[in-house]
């Protein structure tokens, strides 16, 4: 059994023959604080191909969320180069080429579920009929048909997060950026949403970049796992998950292939930790 690419050198090539959606070259981000500079990201090299599902995993402070925010043009890097869809993150954001799902659903309490999903479309100036079609389609996609006229507080946490995924999908982006979207949910709901997300990804063929700190979640969902470690925030390992079938059910978590990948990810996380213990 073969798991993953291995050394830092082979990482850039790990996207395989696919066309790269995200290309990151020696990227770094340093904050100036009163206690001196903080290296949130240091020398990141990463290439993500079209249709991949890539998870960023690591302990808090490793910069996984910061990296996602740089891709989304919510943070500005201080060094290196990054291209999203072949252009700068800013141009990609302005072209609305990604959908972003936050850790919390971030639904506006004064809008119904349908109008929350329609929010980005209103901002983009999508005509009303098209807006209604996309809202209905995407709510159906996340199994929320029939909840159009409910307000966010009338839905459970899992349903709210599904609504926020529908909102990101309504933009019809090829790229989905997800920042620990299920982190605040309980285990059972999380398993269920993971399965749904995987089906959705298979159905829509989107590229997904997914931030998590759960090893089983990362292994279950991903085609590749980027292991990161803190101080400075950097990539320590990239694990390939092609040993697992592309179509997965929750049972896959019991297979030796799954456990082997999870083991390697755990070792990568440990290696990142060792120097500070």
């Amino acid at each position: 059994m073969r798991v993953g690419g291995g050394t830092m050198g082979s990482m850039a090539a790990a996207a395989g023959g696919r066309e790269a959606v995200i290309e990151i070259d020696r990227l770094s981000l340093t904050y100036e604080t009163n206690d001196g500079p903080v290296h949130a990201l240091s020398d990141i090299d990463l290439s993500i191909g079209r249709g991949e599902f890539v998870s960023l995993i690591g302990p808090s402070g490793c910069g996984k969320t910061t990296l996602l925010r740089v891709i989304a043009d919510l943070e500005q890097p201080t060094g290196g180069a990054i291209a999203v869809n072949g252009v700068s993150p800013r141009a990609a954001r302005e072209a609305r080429s990604y959908g972003y799902v936050f850790q919390a659903a971030a639904l506006y309490p004064w809008r119904t579920i349908a109008r929350n999903v329609a929010l980005p479309l209103e901002i983009m100036g999508v005509p009303k009929a098209e807006r209604e079609r996309r809202v209905a389609d995407n709510l159906a996609l996340v199994n929320l048909a029939g909840f159009e006229r409910k307000y966010p507080w009338q839905l459970s946490g899992g349903m709210q997060q599904r609504a926020s995924i529908a909102r990101a999908l309504a933009v019809e982006p090829d790229l989905l950026l997800m920042d620990e979207p299920f982190g605040a949910l309980d285990e059972i709901v999380r398993d269920h949403l993971n399965e749904q997300l995987l089906k959705l990804w298979a159905k829509t063929q989107k590229t997904v970049v997914f931030v998590t700190h759960s090893i089983p979640e990362a292994v279950f969902l991903s085609t590749r796992i980027v292991v990161m470690s803190p101080r400075p925030g950097r990539v320590t390992d990239i694990v390939d998950c092609s040993a697992l079938p592309r179509e997965r059910t929750l049972d896959v978590r019991e297979t030796p292939e799954f456990l082997a990948i999870a083991h390697r990810v755990r070792q990568g996380l440990r290696a990142g930790h060792s120097y500070e213990d």
Binding site: F102, A104, A106, W110, R111, L119, E122, V171, A184, L185
Partner: protein, 303 residues
Amino acid sequence: MSASLAAPPVRRPRGREGAFVPVLAVVLALVAVWYAGAYVLNRPQVMDAFARQKVEPDFESLVAATWSMERPVLPAPHQVAAELWKTTVEQRITSKRSLVFHGWITLSSTLVGFAIGTALGILLAVAVVHVKSLEKSLMPWIVASQTIPILAIAPMVVVVLNAVNITGLLPKAVISTYLSFFPVTVGMVKGLRSPEILHLDLMRTFSASAWQTFWKLRLPGSVPFLFTSMKVGVAASLVGAIVAELPTGAVSGLGARLLSGSYYGQTVQIWAALVAASLLAAALVTIVGAIDRLVVRRMGMAR
């Protein structure tokens, strides 16, 4: 459940059934204190009157006399109530003796001033929130404006406006505006800044313009703050209208009623006007509160 994580805190309607008994108890206590106060404050004058008639009053007649004087230092509650009844129900509302007539005069300038003050407050808040330099340059002046004693500035405003032929309701409304724009400005600045970073980041991922962010996020998010400050503002507007009537020799309005009452030592009339003013203020605050609840429910934010 993590619903609290997703949605910003939303006010729930408070249970109002349980408030009745405590409120009634406080009102009864206040009325009792009032009666006691009327006895203590009016007693010297009543004692003088009895002394002139060379009568030694017993306690009962002393109490009865302190609570039924024509020009008491402090009229008893039932005297004020009787005066209120006489000047509202028993007068035609167009009569100069009707408190409804005077109340309407004051109310109309209160409402005009409040409307202008609210609009001005919102405009200033929008400017302060969106133009960085205005926060430094404008905000101190807005705060300083409220440190000027309103009694000093009211006659000058009225006189200056009279000089340019603006008379009647508008000069009084200007004072109401002056007092009511401030709480609205402060509340709206806070309200327009209330959206969480997360909600603002979301707008950024949509590449929303500043105008879209304002219209679809900041403004709806500020609505609860707006109504809270409008409740303060409407009460301040009424104070402003009354104060504007006091030093300017107005002949109608609740302020004029207070003034003429004090000229002629008609304490019962003064107190009746005071009670009318506070009832009016309570009614105005209640109405704003009701509109608040209605709007919040229409927006879907009430649970």
